[in-house]
């Protein structure tokens, strides 16, 4: 499914990712854990296609198709979703209008029919309930005046709406209380399926109590330095990252 092969990425002339390789097969959830500054956000931005995050070597493919030459919106239409670590507030942009425009832009790019207004409203109400956002929040300007937790709920709402083939969740758990963590787990577990993959980037084990990953990787110094089963997360929680910083 998502295959990253010997990826080197430079940001502003500094090499951040130094030969990162990773393979998340269909139907699996992988977690990436790692210390601050190890390149976790660089990885998510590069895979999603942010300008200024240039791959100097290596490749990224989704179901065999190279992603690196595509624009961010083309990657989105291919089913790649990024849940942002710091979701934007966008004043003046109406939430429902934006999500519907985005949904239809993706559908159009895939040659699918646009979603009707009535179907869209039904769908978004349904998903809003799932992520714990009330209707009044949907009528507001996008994320304006939302708390950190509400912004993360808005990310999960969009993920639930778009049903992406592959989702990268960049520290979705940071700043969330237990109820919200459980909600994130519920959304992921509801979407989990044989044709879908997830890459969950996190500092802490606790999200992984709600989302049982198939594999855990440690990212340090721009490379995956260790991979293992779900038990690796718990292990890291006890031992910390120091050993890997030295190793990297």
């Amino acid at each position: 499914m998502l295959k990253i092969d010997d990826l080197h990425v430079a940001v502003g002339g500094n090499e951040i990712l130094k030969g990162l390789s990773l393979d998340v097969p269909k139907g699996e959830v992988h977690a990436i854990m790692g210390p601050n500054g190890s390149g976790k956000s660089t990885l998510s931005y590069t895979v999603a296609g942010r300008a200024g995050y240039d791959a100097t070597a290596g490749g990224v493919t989704l179901d065999g198709e190279s992603m690196l030459d595509l624009d961010p919106d083309e990657r989105a239409a291919k089913g790649l979703f990024l849940s942002f670590q710091h979701p934007m507030e966008i004043p003046g942009v109406q939430t429902m209008n934006f999500i519907r425009t985005a949904m239809n832009a993706q559908r159009k790019a895939r040659g699918e029919d646009e979603v009707s207004a009535a179907d869209f409203i039904r769908l978004i109400r349904d998903k809003a309930k799932l992520v714990g956002l009330d209707d009044a929040k949907l009528k507001r300007q996008f994320n304006v005046g939302f708390s950190g937790g509400e912004k993360k709920r808005m990310e999960m709402l969009q993920m639930a709406m778009f049903e992406p083939r592959f989702a990268i969740m960049d520290e979705t758990d940071s700043g969330l209380d237990i109820d919200a963590l459980k909600m994130v787990g519920d959304v992921v577990n509801a979407l989990r399926g044989p044709d879908r993959g997830f890459l969950v980037i996190t500092h802490y084990q606790r999200l992984l109590d709600y989302i049982k990953p198939d594999a855990v990787h440690v990212l340090a110094g721009g490379r995956i330095v260790k991979s293992g089963g779900p038990e690796l997360g718990a292990e890291l929680e006890k031992s910390g990252y120091e050993q890997f910083i030295e190793a990297a």
């Binding site: 919106d73 989105a76 942002f84 979701p87 942009v93 425009t101």
Partner: protein, 409 residues
Amino acid sequence: MTALSNPSPFEAALEDAFAARSKTNEAQAAAFDRFASLRLPNRRVEGWKWTDVNAALRSVTPGEASKPELIAPSPFAALGALEFRIINGKVSLPDEPMPEGLRYGIMDPVATIPELERHPIATLNVAMTRKALGLEVLEGSDIERPILIRHIVSGAGFSFAQTMMRISPGAKVQVIETYEGEGAGFYSHLCHMVVRDGGECRRVMLQDCSGDSVVNGICAVKTDKEARYEQTSLSTGARLCRHETHAHFWAPSSSAAINSAALLSGERHTDFTSEVKHMAPDCTVRQLHKGVARDRSRNVFQGKFHVLREAQKTDAKMTANALLLSDGAEANHKPELEIYADDVECAHGSTVGALDDDALFYLRQRGLSEAQARALLVEAFVGEVTESIENEALRAIFEARVSEWLEQA
């Protein structure tokens, strides 16, 4: 009549046109004499350093403007508006019975507007305007139909117009003004408005002239006790356009909202200049300007709040934001506060920037193309101004104009 020394071709043509007129009065002769000493403003004149009208008029063929051939219906007609047309300065009244609560007619131009006596174009306008449109909303009347005043310019040359409006005590009215038309001419419009005790005037303006024209609209408005004046302007056309608002709070507890947006492309130049003079206590003003400039266009904003000593408890806020979409685009902002009262709340803020890269990436990650994402952000930016139009159908026409501008990108 004082002769202009070393006049520009445009000034010489104005002088000839004025001399050739048979029906000018003493006030107009005096105004022309004042203009002869003031002259067309250029960038060395305070208040005009970013907007050089004299230079812009070099490419306008002087002479009296010609008549347009065809006038298309206005999109605002769909709102059931009562339509007045001022075609190259010539007023034509609606061809229907006068609605109750409203009086109007064609009248002699104003002899002078004291606070604008040193204003070169206002003075020129007083000298040159032949006939004015006068409108009065009678006491306590709430005019349901919007008043539409279409300023239509055509061809080369110059034309001058005046409108005088009196909103009587407790009266309410919605005024829509459009500046439209083709041709490389110069158009000057002077509006003189009084909103009496408890009266309310909501005024929207859409300037959408062809890209060769030079336009100046000046509105001098006085508000009495507990009167309300709301103005929302959208300027998308003309090669050079300067909108001026001079609001005077004469009596306590009056309020105003002055909102404007400029959408600029090519080499266009738009200038929103305003002065709000607080002469009485407890008055409130909110001012918001948004300028969007691409290519090599220029957005100018000059706003001044002038608070006299007697104007205690003034509450005044001014914000001007510009969005530059191209490297060659420019914005010049000059927010100004001049305050002599000690118990007031006055604030101003001004920003100039580009579209936010973080927001653009966010929108594109969700599937919007670059063009869609940019359009959505620009629309959101300008939306704060169009939102201030309460009437939904009216606001929709303004929003549609913004979308249309974005599609032309």
